[in-house]
Symmetry: C2
Amino acid sequence: MAELIRSIDEMHRIAADLRQAGRRIGVVPTMGFLHDGHLALIREAGRRSDVVITTVFVNPTQFGRGEDFERYPRDLQRDTTLAESAGTTFVFAPGHRAVYPEGYATFVEVTGLDRVLEGKSRPGHFRGVATIVLKLFNITVPHCALFGQKDAQQVAVIRRMVQDLNMDVELIIVPTVRERDGLAMSSRNAYLKERERQEARVLHRSLQLAATRIREGVRSCPAIIGDMTALITAESSGQIDYVSIADAGTLGELSEIRAGGEVLVSLAVRFGTTRLIDNVVVEVVG
Amino acid sequence: MAELIRSIDEMHRIAADLRQAGRRIGVVPTMGFLHDGHLALIREAGRRSDVVITTVFVNPTQFGRGEDFERYPRDLQRDTTLAESAGTTFVFAPGHRAVYPEGYATFVEVTGLDRVLEGKSRPGHFRGVATIVLKLFNITVPHCALFGQKDAQQVAVIRRMVQDLNMDVELIIVPTVRERDGLAMSSRNAYLKERERQEARVLHRSLQLAATRIREGVRSCPAIIGDMTALITAESSGQIDYVSIADAGTLGELSEIRAGGEVLVSLAVRFGTTRLIDNVVVEVVG
């Protein structure tokens, strides 16, 4: 059975001992309510390391005012069982007070990357993400850490932070896991009403449409975004927060597709009170 | 002879190997131009660890516009010899481009503590300090790190950061080393003209005056600050930036001395173009 660790000091002691003993540690940071996307990360961590630590912490500092921190789904017993089934040795689930004690004051900012896309809609979100990931790395001293491509901007922010702060952690990015009809796995899918769930299929279809247009040779980003928007609007009641085509490294918005790089096509759309994100990375040849 | 390391990767490899071999690493972060204050830190590091790494890096991100980054004194050969004489095994002196490469974007902020005292006069200073210290810790993976009490607010900021970010580094704070006439050792003392150097003695005397007043039972901070200001003004041409009495932990300004805690009496005064800081911590009994 995976061992559930609540104490920061105990987790750190265990991790430091494992490291001292020459064991390779892989960490999978999650907010819990695990789905097949998380389990893919855990399984990959098992292939890349000797000991897998799955962290479960709904991090308040990455939620804005009026966001879904309170109602974010939680089920630690289920998470522990699922994490174990995928090969987790330790589930680390600290309490909020221990993570952010009275007088807590320190935050990590990845400037620039945190102001675009999700950062524009969710100010402070990536400051919260960068800070908690740095803390979890310091507690679990991992050799490698696994994140899903679904959170593309999170990946870019953490990659930049790890490089800038000289952190000795290998980042392993795992492709987005999707439902059979294409919807990206997300703990927030649990919020969707049945009709919204049906309509949400259009998100992946719109991303596939963009990839097709780029491969067909369309170079105008507004034109591609226009096609995506038209599709989403025609086939769902989703309220578009943004649809973006950006450089996959810098996240700078593009007006025109240029050959010889990767572009990130990403979107955020609200279905009722549920905000979903998704993306594809398209390699642009010739 | 102490070994001079220029490469971040090489320094990290050496430190990681030392740690793996069970050696205890002590790091002394400096901006170079070493004086007896630094050497006291290095000697104490030698008592507290097996291997001492002294870092020498004039960190541009902690200097504001119009501050003395360009003219800050540098002499790496002399520093290496002095560091060696005090017991340093490795002098780590990376280049600026390697520390802050093109596209660098990540900063650590210790909110609140960075806005008072020095932070008010030097906006961004402690963001630069916290960031470089975190980076140096990640590169040198020390068991303990040594800082001087002279930079009292720096100590408070780093202590808060280490605690908040769950960093596994023991902080060792070493008392301020002074010239025979009381002037706190500082690389910036090298800027002082002879007359300014003479006048600067008044700084320590004003701090001693404050300590005496507190011990005599004076409780009004404005009264004590008034006495200090009068002394500095009467006996020097120094331009006072601030004179402060604050809670030693939170750095919150006090209007009245209360029993049962430590107060930080600190000041910053300009002599010509040279800005000096100094402080004493006074324990307040009954």
